[in-house]
Amino acid sequence: MTDVSHVDAALRHAVATGDEHPADAPLSVHDLTVAYHRKPVLWDVDFDAPEGRLIGIIGPNGAGKSTLLKAVLDLVPTASGRITVYGKPYREQRALVGYVPQRESVDWDFPVDALDVVAMGRYGKIGWFKPVGRMHREAALHALERVGMADYAKRQISQLSGGQQQRVFLARALAQDARVYLMDEPFAAVDAATERAIVEILQALRAAGKTVLIVHHDLQTVSEYFDHVLLLNMRVVAHGPTEQVFTPENLRKTYGGRLTLLEEAANAVARRGSAE
């Protein structure tokens, strides 16, 4: 019931401000609020992801970055808000959205090999009860090849390094063959080679017209990796093209008074200035 009034309010708000969501954006988040035990984690988050862009979600610890992804994916209950994917509710469009969770979210001792894990990206297409057919196994193998992990297909997943595990997760998302990707810190604790490999894959995805939202921690690399940024600290602080939005002023608003981070941010912005 509250939903209706809320949507109504949102519509009026949109009409009043002239701030309409484009009908067919790859991902639109309308007035999303999430609370854990009555404590808000996300408040009135509202943005559209432009198509074919790499979008960095930046903010301090506890800003609600992972929660934003999970709320979009219907994995956590939301207090209010509406998610649309290419103009239709997320639940109807699941198949279009791929997810790369944080690496710590699974038990790597599980008795499966890398290929098994990647094939899981295909399960939605296979459907209930049916076994994984040859076509799907080949698609999984191809995805492993794309992340440079084909040689490790038969390796049990705990026998892979952290960077290799991250690439397996990425391959699983590729195997999903989605149009919108949500990735939760794919660069966390990976080696330099994996970081380069991931960047290359992200660029290939962008070239193929995919939209990728990435929770990211390292302010140094933001300008290099992302076309757009979403600065988040419970609310959206700023959202837009990196060169316009990724400014010391906005970062100060996002990170509050955390000096070391501010310095880091200032350096990052300064470096970008000199690089251009």
Binding site: L73, P111, V112, M120, Y123, G124, W128, P131, R172
Partner: protein
């Protein structure tokens, strides 16, 4: 001590083993997923929590028919899982603790219900714990023209049900056990699979527990899958292994129960079959923990010894090579002892023996020297060592007197490719920081 054949094997014994094995396999199949989901104690929790379900089913229908009991158990089993999930999520309590809260309360409710309204129903604690598998063959019914124990049919049906469940929903179980969040995003309802599994755990618990007792049920849910997990890295193999180990435990458990007392000279003291089956499963687990290929204590020790043996062998080759450079190509075993190789004199002795067997060194007049084959292996090592010393000094700016120890470790893990790259990046130096010549790659 009477020989084994003196113990008569009756058709009765066969049925005991069959029922035990069927029940054990039914539990082990589901237990595999409980163990992987880190909720091994769910079998324990549900087996206690179903008591009020049984009592209420009895109160409502007034019958102790198996189907009625199974239905009551199924409902309460799911409730157990639901309540556990609630308390876990709402109270920020860990999964095990919330399981403990739920099953003790439900168990208490069940006891009260039975006490208050069905006091005349006979509940023998010993019977609940150990079951009455010895009496299973006596209660028979006609099945396809055969006289078959009733329990064999109930337990068999449950096994078939569980088999169907794990084969039809194999990939769904795999995904939801590993990564429930991803399952939800690809449209496979992780909650649904979870509650289906819990329902079957409840039904299996009641069906099997009636004939073999709760100890065996709980043991078979956990022990064979845990042992199988130590033995394999593939889920399908783990399922087969845990079912196989469960069946084997049942068979050997019964054999042990009827033979062990006589063997041990205990005369007519009877051993409990269900208890022995659980003990057998425990024995398999211990064996798996000791001898498992990757996690096993024995195999890890063997691996460690093999590694240190290789290092000692390589150190011996390096030592002989350096002595050769100094113009002293021979060395006695006593001198090796003074060189204080890692691993100690015992390891040195084994390493010398294996190097001789491999034709890399020979012993003449109680001294050792390198063969041409040994020499080329040694040259390879010394080359790696000195290249590393140069690298550490030139590139990392370590003082020359600090590089030896690090190089000593790195030389053992440097393959041909890495060595080549090292030499390239250093511009193929002729000497290391100490002025020692860096040997060329041995010609093969």
């Amino acid at each position: 001590m009477p020989p084994l054949c003196a113990i008569a094997w009756l058709p009765l014994d066969t049925w005991i083993v069959v029922v035990g094995a069927l029940g054990a396999m039914a539990c082990a199949l589901l237990g595999t997923f409980l163990v992987l989901r880190k909720m091994s104690m769910m079998g324990d929790a549900i087996s206690h929590a179903v008591l009020p379900g049984l009592a209420i089913a009895f109160l409502v229908t007034g019958s102790r028919d198996s189907l009625v009991m199974l239905a009551g158990a199924g409902v309460v089993g799911v409730l157990t899982a639901v309540f556990t999930q609630w308390i876990h999520a709402a109270g920020k309590v860990d999964q095990g603790a919330s399981m403990g809260v739920v099953f003790t309360i439900l168990f208490a409710v069940g006891l009260i219900l039975i006490r208050q309204t069905a006091d005349h129903v006979d509940l023998d604690p010993e019977c609940v714990l150990y079951g009455a598998i010895e009496f299973v063959p006596l209660d028979t019914t006609a099945f396809l023209g055969w006289q078959v124990p009733r329990a064999a049919i109930t337990v068999g049906v449950v096994l078939v049900l569980n088999l169907l469940f794990v084969t039809l929903l194999y990939k769904e179980l795999k995904l939801t056990s590993l990564d429930p969040a991803l399952a939800t995003t690809v449209g496979i309802n992780a909650h649904l699979v979870h509650y289906l599994l819990m329902t079957l755990v409840a039904v299996t618990t009641v069906a099997v527990f009636e004939s073999v007792g709760s100890i065996l049920v709980i043991a078979m849910f956990i022990v064979p899958p845990a042992a199988a997990h130590l033995l394999t890295d593939r889920l399908s193999v783990m399922l087969l292994l845990s079912a196989g180990l469960a069946a084997l435990s049942a068979a050997l458990g019964h054999v042990a129960a009827i033979t062990l007392p006589a063997w041990l000279g205990l005369g007519d003291i009877s051993t409990n079959t269900a208890g022995m089956m659980a003990v057998m499963a425990g024995v398999f687990f211990v064996v798996a923990a000791l001898a498992g290929p990757r996690h096993g204590i024995v195999s890890r020790a063997v691996h460690r010894i093999a590694l240190s043996l290789r290092i000692v062998r390589e150190d011996i080759l390096g030592l002989l090579y350096r002595l050769d450079e100094l113009g002293a190509p021979r060395i006695s075993r006593r001198a090796f002892a003074q060189a204080e190789l890692v691993g100690g004199p015992f390891m040195t002795r084994i390493a010398l023996w294996s190097l001789r067997r491999a034709g890399q060194i020979v012993r003449e007049d109680a001294t050792y020297h390198l063969t041409p084959r040994g020499r080329s292996a040694a040259q390879e090592l010394v080359r790696s060592h000195r290249l590393w010393e140069s690298f550490l000094e030139q590139e990392l700016r370590l003082p020359p007197d600090h590089v030896h120890c690090t190089a000593e470790r790195l030389e053992h893990v440097t393959g041909a490719r890495l060595q080549e790259r090292l030499a390239e990046s250093l511009g193929d130096p002729g000497h290391d920081p100490h002025g020692e010549p860096i040997p060329d790659r041995p010609s093969r």
